[in-house]
């Protein structure tokens, strides 16, 4: 069966402009995304490739529904659930890993009792041991990422959007996270995976969209786009 047949989400001409007012009359306008269109198919792993600041994270936020594009639309059935997996930026630093995991699970739609029941699994996957009971402010960035990854993967969603989380943590955890991802990919989960790491994109994605300065520079087969991107990076 061709698993790319069913469109689960489509982005039509989406643009995003940020306007920042630094003083009363001083304004800064930044076009983060300009006229982006693509389709996401059920069960595929779509990679979004690009340098830092090219608009990848903004695109993920739009696809998750956290922000709305300035123009254009994201068409997705309202029953399709989406979740953004990031480095745990949403954690409250003064709360313990345990409390943050409960809150994350509740934000993901669980009630408190179910959230508490999912804790053992989260604690085990994160390998934080005693640090799980400590405030997140005492964590290293790798530990925060581990907690972020472990809490996010516990929610069952139709589209999982992942923002560069596999690049952090020690080698052992990276391997574990990658193995989990591979497992998810094989289980027909629809995934949008953002990274500037060519190797990871290559290992995980069926198809790639390359974004440069807010526009789609190229899209298509992972091998072909990776090669173009590599050549582009060498020329810089």
């Amino acid at each position: 069966m061709n698993k790319k047949a069913v469109t689960i989400l489509s982005a039509n001409n989406i643009s995003l402009k940020y306007k920042t007012r630094s003083r009363l009359v001083k304004r800064f306008e930044h076009v983060a995304l300009n006229n982006i269109s693509f389709e996401l198919y059920k069960g595929e792993t779509l990679g979004i490739l690009g340098r830092n600041g090219c608009g990848k994270s903004s695109l993920l936020k739009i696809l998750t529904g956290v922000i709305h594009p300035t123009s254009g639309q994201v068409n997705v059935n309202k029953h399709i659930t989406r979740s953004l997996l990031t480095l745990g930026l949403g954690f409250r630093k003064d709360l313990s890993g345990r409390d943050n995991a409960i809150l994350s699970a509740m934000l993901g739609g669980l009630n408190k009792r179910d959230a508490i029941q999912s804790l053992d699994e989260i604690k085990e996957f994160s390998e934080l041991n005693d640090f799980f009971e400590q405030p997140v402010r005492t964590y290293s960035s790798g530990m925060r990422a581990r907690l972020g990854f472990s809490t996010a993967i516990k929610t069952n969603v139709d589209i999982l959007l992942i923002d560069e989380v596999l690049g952090v943590g020690d080698a052992h955890f990276k391997e574990k996270a990658q193995a989990y991802m591979t497992n998810k990919i094989n289980s027909n989960q629809t995934i949008v995976f953002v990274s500037h790491n060519l190797e990871q994109i290559h290992a995980l994605c069926d198809r790639v969209i390359w974004i440069e300065n807010g526009i789609i520079k190229s899209q298509g087969d992972t091998k072909k786009i990776s090669k173009q991107y590599q050549q582009f990076m060498h020329r810089l």
Partner: protein, 258 residues
Amino acid sequence: MNLLQAIELVHTQSRMSLKADASKFYLGYFWWILEPLLYVIVFYLVFEVVLQFGRGEFLLFLICGKIPFLWFSKSITQASNSITQNKGLIGQTVIPKTIFPFISIQEVLYKQWLVFAVMFLVTALYDHPPEWSWLWLIPLIIVQYQLIVACSLIGAFLVSLIPDFRKMIAMGMLFLMFASGIFWDINTIANPELREYILVYNPLAFLIDAYRQVLINQTMYELSHLSLLAFLLSIFALFGHILLQKFDSYITIKVISS
């Protein structure tokens, strides 16, 4: 997220915040009572000992004004900043913005029960033992909660769009402290029109005066005025909620790009 989930989330997070807050200090939960009492003592020293205001039962008078005022000012200050302080979470989750001010409001409210208990204890020690008429404090507390919700939602909306409002709210709290009869009695204003004007247009002044009427003077406040306040504040609170809902996506962009 449905209403029940939202209520459970607000309740859970505010309790967690209280626990985390207490764990930062050596005296932990004791600060919940100590802080408002220290405020009262400072005011007492300045106005009674140094300036010799010479009012009878001044400490009790002060407690019955300062403690409700602190509930109000702490809630508004904390809740107004709550949306901007959750930038990280707002950038990665679709979450109704009303949740954030409510977490702050509940956090302060849960501490407030204990502080109110101290206020009642001090009142009893001042030879004003508990009476059935104290039950009239319940509508007062409910209306003050409504006032806090309305101001917090609108404050959080304004600060999330224009951060300068944070400064204005801080100034506003200072102004309200002087204009609400915390350390002076609103009933001593010689001009009756001015007195009426303050009681009508400053709900906090009315509420504080009403707390004192029930606890110290054993008299009844104007119930019709309180009912009107309850009605108007419900509309304002709803308006604040609608503002946060209507401008949700604009607020998200503003907060994450700030």
